[in-house]
């Protein structure tokens, strides 16, 4: 099943009169269960593309369809609710709510979804187990390493049972050990539980783990390979 479809997706920034096509007519289709990396040099438009796919930024032109819904036509609140239901986000860093513990951070998103306390507790513990943080349930983000924080972020993203997980350079701030731990974990979830991942990266080791690699340059797809 097709989960993400962009059609002529375009973002134009104008910097003091100068137009920059950060994303230039991108047509992209992501199927359920993919493990896809968007790669490209700095400034090529990866972040801009992912933000539009995630409904965090408006497009100048073109549309984004997520699981059949054209998200460009949603109102602000509808879009927020849509994100809550369908998209799991992992950002580059400082993803977590600083005043909540790891477990509460994971629970928080389920709370927004209206799940019962019992379900929240059970699922958050399960997910944090899964990302190897059983002994850090009650730690606050500032008591966790960067890699541990990113693992909590992945657990949180999964907690809402989204259609896919969107991650913009999730390993950019991590050392190589944490990077491979996180990536192995993501790959395992993808394989065993068919969780769809779409992430951007600079990092060759991350690229090596991806099953599909889309290369963009100057806002255009220049290569799209599956392995």
């Amino acid at each position: 099943m097709e989960i993400i479809k962009t059609t002529h997706l375009t973002k134009v920034y104008s910097n003091n009169g100068l137009e920059v096509k950060a994303v230039n007519h991108i047509d992209l289709s992501i199927e359920e269960g993919e493990f896809t990396a968007i790669v490209g040099p700095s400034g090529s438009g990866k972040t801009t593309l992912l933000n539009m796919i995630g409904g965090l930024d408006d497009s100048t032109e073109g549309t984004v369809k997520i699981a059949g819904t054209n998200i460009n036509s949603l109102s602000e609140n509808e879009l927020i609710d849509f994100r809550l239901k369908n998209i799991g986000f992992v950002f580059q860093a400082y993803n977590l709510i600083p005043v909540l513990t790891a477990k509460e951070n994971v629970e928080f998103i389920m709370l927004l979804q209206g799940l019962s306390e019992k379900e929240r507790k059970q699922r958050s513990e399960e997910l944090l187990n899964h990302v190897g943080l059983t002994d850090k349930l009650d730690s606050r983000p500032n008591q966790l390493s960067g890699g541990e924080q990113q693992r909590v972020a992945v657990a949180r993203a999964l907690a809402s049972k989204p259609s896919f997980i969107l991650a913009d350079e999730p390993t950019a701030n991590l050392d190589s050990h944490s990077t491979s731990t996180l990536l192995d974990m993501m790959a395992e979830m993808n394989e065993k539980e068919k969780v769809t991942f779409l992430f951007s990266t600079h990092d060759q080791r991350v690229i090596d783990k991806a099953r599909r690699v889309i290369t963009i340059e100057d806002g255009k797809i220049i290569k799209d390979e599956r392995r």
Partner: protein, 407 residues
């Protein structure tokens, strides 16, 4: 909701120092405002009690229209239902019947206008505190027709107890009201306008003089809990036939006092207003910093699916927590202080004391214990906090997640 509560609470303690400074400043504002107002209101209450106890009482019932035209023709015979109403109310300790009018007094070749009050002297002693003012002679018996005259009047006529005074006036519906009455006592009032022209006589004698048997000009209610006045007034005016009677409280009876208080009050309100202004800027500053520091967090919360309205709710809760916490501390600290100064009022000294004592009043400033003062200021503080919270609210309403997260 529990989680949102938890978040709000923890967010306050995220920047401990800043929150403590903010809470302390709010606390100080509440403390100072309540403290200052307690004394101000305390002074007013004391002033009111003094003035009211001098002459008017807190509440009076007249025939409708009497206050506009204070003539004996506007006197009335109270219905039994009115008397029952006053008898049956526990908040009314007693009520005094009065027949008041004017008359020309004369003795030898001198004359002078005077206020003639026909009263129940025993009851008036309770209200106007007459016994200590009696400088010579004695109170006339209820059924006698002797007079108590003020000291100013006595010295004007060079009179002493046992002499007689002529009264010339107009009685009910044009009857003539003339008579000659023995003086049985002399009263010294501290207020010149009473001391120069007041004549008291037993009400029966006054009713006879004015050809107005059983008639009264006013019923003066005595109450011992002035803080219940408004409730009592409302209650009585509901029961009273307002076509026939009018009900005036001290504000209606003593308009000059109301003006004096209002003028003085304005000064106090301005000082407290300035204080609140300063505090508002402090709170606003805190919220501005807090908002700037948390832009990324707000961006993430909205990105992962928190509606702006919910986020705003947490911020309002944070602000309210701080405001309520500070108010609670403020009120709990100020309450014993107020209580102390209520029990041990500040005693004025030297000139200030003398000028007050000259009017026969105690030169003390007791703090008011009125809980409304504390509640009002807690309310004001919460309102200020909420108004300042408009800034982060507007920021969030305008927030674009992508922009917020780039910071």
């Amino acid at each position: 909701m529990k989680m949102i509560f938890k978040m709000a609470w923890r967010n306050i303690w995220r920047n401990k120092r800043r929150s403590i400074i903010t809470i302390s400043s709010i606390f100080f504002a509440v403390f100072f405002a309540v403290f200052a107002r307690s004394f101000q209101i305390g002074v007013y209450n004391k002033m009111i009690a003094n003035m009211v106890g001098m002459y008017t009482g807190y509440l009076q019932i007249h025939q409708n229209g009497f206050w506009e035209e204070q003539s004996i023709d506007n006197s009335f015979i109270p219905d039994q239902s009115v008397l029952d109403l006053l008898h049956d109310n526990k908040d009314i300790t007693d009520f005094n019947e009065r027949l008041e009018s004017f008359a020309l007094t004369a003795s030898d070749n001198l004359t002078k206008g005077a206020i003639i009050m026909g009263v129940n002297l025993e009851k008036e002693d309770g209200l106007m505190d007459l016994s200590p003012k009696l400088i010579s002679g004695e109170f006339p018996a209820h059924t006698s027709s002797s007079l108590l005259i003020s000291e100013g009047l006595a010295s004007y006529y060079n009179m002493s107890v046992g002499d007689s005074l002529i009264l010339l006036g107009q009685g009910y519906h044009g009857a003539s009201a003339n008579g000659i009455f023995p003086v049985s006592g002399i009263l010294k009032f501290p207020m010149p306008n009473l001391n120069d022209r007041l004549v008291l006589m037993p009400i029966l004698a006054a009713q006879e003089l004015y050809a107005a048997p059983e008639r009264l000009t006013s019923l003066v209610l005595q109450i011992d809990k002035p803080e219940k006045l408004n409730k009592l007034k409302k209650y009585i005016s509901k029961k009273l036939d307002l076509e026939k009677y009018e009900l005036l409280d001290w504000k209606g009876l003593l308009p000059e006092l109301v003006q004096t208080i209002q003028a003085d009050n304005a000064g106090g309100v301005i000082i407290i207003g300035v204080l609140y202004m300063i505090i508002s800027f402090g709170i606003l500053g805190t919220l501005l910093m807090m908002t700037a520091e948390r832009m990324r967090e707000f961006g993430i919360l909205i990105s992962i699916g928190m509606r702006k309205s919910k986020l705003i709710l947490t911020l309002i809760m944070e602000s309210l927590f701080m405001g309520i916490l500070a108010s609670i501390i403020g009120i709990s600290v100020v309450s014993p202080v107020r209580y102390y100064f209520n029990r041990n009022p500040i005693r004025l000294e030297d000139q200030a004391a003398e000028s007050i004592e000259a009017f026969g009043f105690e030169p003390v400033i007791p703090a008011s214990l009125d809980m409304d003062i504390a509640m009002n200021h807690a309310g004001i503080v919460l309102l200020i906090v909420l108004i300042c919270t408009i800034y982060p609210i507007v920021t969030i309403l305008r927030l674009k997640p992508v922009k917020a997260m780039r910071t």
